[in-house]
């Protein structure tokens, strides 16, 4: 093990190197670029022996790895924001073709107006495409999650692609100490991919085909079943990773001081770190607040959310994106998970940090205060100056 000071993007690149990915393809977009630059260095120096295909668009980047994956290669790509949106057709295709691609996505706002700040709109708009989605809080978690994602994606029970996301700049360009496991440790945890031999040169084989209404639904049903097997498979993969490296990140929904809490905030990504500090501060003055970090968004951890809800008074869900639904994307999922549950606390959807605005301790404190106040709104925008008029 080596302790290094890495940005989140460097952590992605080191994880791809340690995973011995065979085919990489990418197109540059801010703030993803330092991943693809770092990987270019690894390939140039021989630290990573891989085919690195530098393409003319994100759409092509994902197609390259979808096709390479269909032949049995271990593949990686990375993108952000508009790049992910351009990929959208292939995002569906990758999961439909059961290609175990791992993709780093730097969560960035979607234009217009142009903005490169942290915002989850890009990946939230891809939440229903059949990809597993992780949201990371730290650069260590980024590295560990990418490595675990290859095991998860390639597992015969799963065979689905995975996105490992990072908040733009808060992780992508911020340096943190990261424990980088040795190659032999990773090799023990993550052996070479066993090609899922659908497409074999020299044989009459076909991947992607077409089919009518008589069979199409069977493919989606198989995919749904694979997605349902993710939690159990992930638990085994995380346990093996813990044994190999000593690190564990708390499963799909990591709870913090939620016992007997009157109010719990559910956060994703880097706002979690701020919220954790606020919980300690408020607990110290006797306010019973807690925190739950939503690491895994797809498949959504319904059971964990129900278990959490059984012990708390009020839930607030922080969405770092606006998705034009009845509540934020995560708040809607939490509400849907709780509806069949006999114990349903109130759920408030908070919009905070949209477009990279800082989710400060002050903002977090106010969200807790809102939940504790007794009159809880269904949705609430944090940090908005409503009186500001916009001239037409």
């Amino acid at each position: 093990m080596t302790k290094m000071v890495l940005s989140g993007n460097s952590a992605q690149a080191h994880a791809a190197r340690l995973a011995r990915v065979q085919v990489i393809s990418a197109y540059p977009i801010t703030p993803q670029t330092s991943i693809v630059e770092k990987i270019a260095d690894f390939v140039a120096t021989g630290a990573l022996k891989a085919q690195y295909i530098k393409v003319e668009s994100e759409h092509s980047a994902l197609q390259v790895v979808v096709s390479a994956s269909g032949l049995g290669a271990r593949t990686y790509t990375a993108t952000s924001s508009h790049g992910l949106l351009l990929m959208h057709e292939l995002v569906h295709w990758a999961s439909g073709a059961r290609a175990p691609i791992v993709m780093g996505v730097i969560n960035r706002a979607v234009g217009p107006p142009w903005n490169i700040g942290a915002d989850h709109t890009d990946t939230m708009s891809q939440r229903d495409t059949g990809w597993i989605q992780f949201y990371a809080e730290s650069n260590q978690e980024v590295l560990d999650t990418v490595l675990m994602s290859f095991r998860l994606a390639e597992h015969p029970d799963v065979r689905l692609p995975v996105m490992v996301t990072e908040d733009a700049f808060y992780l992508s360009h911020t340096l943190e100490p990261v424990e980088v496991p040795d190659q032999d440790v990773v090799d023990g945890f993550l052996p070479p991919r066993e090609p899922h031999a659908v497409l074999v040169p020299g044989t009459a084989s076909r991947l992607g085909s077409f089919t009518g209404p008589d069979r199409y639904v069977d493919f989606r049903w198989e995919e749904a079943k694979a997605m349902e097997r993710v939690p159990a498979t992930l638990a085994r993969v995380e346990e093996e990773y813990r044994r190999a490296t000593g690190r564990y990140h708390g499963g799909p929904l990591e709870t913090y001081r939620t016992d007997d809490a009157d109010a719990v905030l559910v956060t994703m990504g880097t706002s979690t770190t701020t919220a954790r500090a606020v919980v300690d501060e408020m607990r110290a003055v006797g306010k019973k607040v807690g925190l739950a970090k939503l690491r895994l968004f797809r498949p959504f951890p319904n059971e964990e959310v129900r278990a959490l809800a059984a012990t708390v008074g009020r839930l607030g869900v922080v969405d770092r994106s606006y998705t034009f639904g009845p509540m934020g994307a995560a708040a809607t999922e939490v509400s849907a998970a709780l509806y069949p549950s006999p114990r349903r606390p109130s759920v408030t959807g908070f919009y905070a940090g949209v477009g990279g605005r800082d989710v400060t301790p002050h903002v977090v404190r106010r969200m807790y205060d809102t939940l504790l106040s007794g009159t809880v709104p269904e949705v609430h925008w944090e940090d908005i100056e409503e009186e500001v008029a916009v001239d037409g």
Binding site: E56, H59, S67, S69, P201, G202, A204, R206, R215
Partner: protein, 314 residues
Amino acid sequence: MAKLTIPAQELMYSGHAACPGCGAALAMRLLLKGLGPRTVVSVPACCWTVIATPYPTTALGVAMLDNPIEATGASISGIRAALDAMGEKDVTVVGFAGDGGTADIGLQALSGMLERGTNAIFVMYDNEAYMNTGVQRSGATPQGAWTTTTPVEGAEHGKPEAKKDVMAIVLAHHPTYAATLNPAFPEDFERKVEKAKGMVGPRFFHIFAPCAPGWRFDSEKTIAVGRLATDTGVFPLYEVEGDRYHITRKSGTLKPVEEYLSAQGRFRHLTPRDVAAVSEHVHRTWERLLARERESMTSSPLAAVSAPRATAAT
């Protein structure tokens, strides 16, 4: 005994779902005869998605990967990358796209693949319109042709614009090899396939693929229409290696273009003046091609400037 000029092996099975007299089906059949079983074909959304028959059957004796319509160039880069990464060296990688999936929506990925120098053959089978969706015009539809979106009624008189010169676009990327192929001339077709198979680097085939229902001719006339296309100069057969042009079929004087046009219902509405204009365009293009061939036979300063890619077989 005379040597067979067309390989006997069949890697396209009967039972495929092509229309009777399909030029695109002939194109694939002849292509795979020449390339052999160690071939991986990537096919975008096009007629061939359907011709290859639905899951769980296939009409091909080789591995086939489906890809979205605009992404064939990227797909074959990915296939080659995977084969290289896994140490498989004896496989020919082919992208097999229609004219829309090549010249229109697929142009960016094609350009990317050519520029990257992907070691693969990109095939445009050109039936000159979006045939799988029911004969809508594409950038490769010839001027004056009727399609369902370039009707012949009211003020409309077929497609107003000229056919996109895809070979010129491809050649601007300086591929290892580019050639036009016509299933109506199978010996010439197979010679080019064999030649390209022995090369490395990006290669491009523009294959003429007559479409009986879309072009409005009887399905037994596919070969006749194909032969007329080349013999009238509408679809000249040539190949380009580095800077060297070589016209592979010259049949003395060209037949009148009218013979080609009048064989198809899609040109039925053309007036004698229209026909004369098409004829003039065809002859101008043919003369230019002859001139290019002549020029490229003499040493040109350009030949020294643009370095052709290595053409040694692996």
